[in-house]
Amino acid sequence: MIGFLESRRHARLQGLLSVYIDGQVNDSERARVEAHLDGCEACRSELTTLRATVDLLTSLPQIVPSRSFALTLEPEPVRSYEPLMWTARVVAPVAAVLLVALVALVAGDSVGLITQRVAGEPVVVETTASDGGVAATQADASAAVAPAAAPEAAPAPMAMAAQAVKEETKVAQVERTAAAEEEVVAEVEAQERALPKAAVASDTTEEAVEQPGEMRSLAPSESAGEPLPPAPVAAMSAAADMAATIGQRTLDTRGSGQWRRASTVAA
């Protein structure tokens, strides 16, 4: 037990030897160290070799540089590509807006939306004609009227009846035209329901500016028309990447080397 305690005391005082050499111990510690050294040959030996080691280390020569490390240019490579980045930040939103407009235009053209809104009436005529419903009704009405109107000596009631049939036919025609218009409206609504997809694509454009890879995959699949060329966004991103690369190269050529990216600056 006594040996264990003595061993611990010995180790603790050995730990003070380095500080003792530098004179960084307080009075109490100094007294304990010196009292221990008087009776401990091993610690005296250790103190001697440790002090000699410190003497060697403190006498190591300073390295004389083979060149000056003075800075000849202001070492702010960020500025070298910052104007390009600033340009990209200004141009990117404008390009995004233009892209949104382009998406809307192409999507609208693909479903004929713009044509309908500019000349909506011809669409109704075209649709009803192709439907054939009104034309058939008119033919039926003519067929119904013709036998009644054929006899020239037809009495007035017959003529009145024929007129009534014509009026009913007109009412039916108006109703069927209204029905046809409702069908057209429904169709237009269906087409407009398809539009939000294009709008979604447009809404994500700003994100896509930051992520050109997503933009390239989004535009052709979401818009119903021709695949949109993402060239403006991609080109800007490429320009920004290139500018960043130039900036990095500027850093590298100033002597930071390949380890530059992992280094941190103490502040």
Binding site: G15, L17, S18, V19, D22, Q24, E41, R44, S45, T48, T49, L50, R51, A52, T53, V54, D55, L56, L57, T58, L60, P61, Q62, I63, V64, P65, S66, R67, S68, F69, A70, L71, E74, P75, E76, R254, G255, S256, G257, W259, R260, R261, A262, S263, T264, V265, A266, A267
Partner: protein, 195 residues
Amino acid sequence: MELEDSQLVARSREGDLAAFNVIVERYQAQVLSVAWRVVGTRASAEDITQETFISAYRAIGKFRGGSLRAWLFRIASNLGVDFLRSSKRRPEDSLDQSLEPPAFQVASGDETPEQAALRGELGGEIQKAILSLPDDQRVALLLIDVQGLSYDEAAEATGASVDTVKSRLSRARGKVRDILVKRPELLPDKFRHIG
């Protein structure tokens, strides 16, 4: 008239590159020495030295006073340790290069060829011993024993407490001593006259 560090720092903060270059000239040998003894190779030490001054100039506005030398050593040692970690190698891996740095000239006075040879070999052994230390112990030993910083300055430079610095330094000195005593023929007499 030679300007104080604090005056040069103040001018550098205003963008005076010439004033900052006075700082560079004043401390580049010490920074290079720290960098070389941290990483062990000439080329890397020069890169780190250059990067140290570039980083210092950029961050001069964040320097809050105190020891400018300790601040520069902190940047250099951090860059050196980062370099070693990013390259995933120990500094002694490139020991052969470090033993004979052809581009370096040792700042010493006249000496005989034999003395120069012994000094060179002993210097190589010391450098090998330093490079074998753990990063934190190596930095503590370099800052205090080689560059002459006080305990407080070293604590400031490493961001550690004074007690931690004392502990690291004590261990580092003991390890270097243990390595050197294996080459008694290179050591001065005071190493051999023990007791």
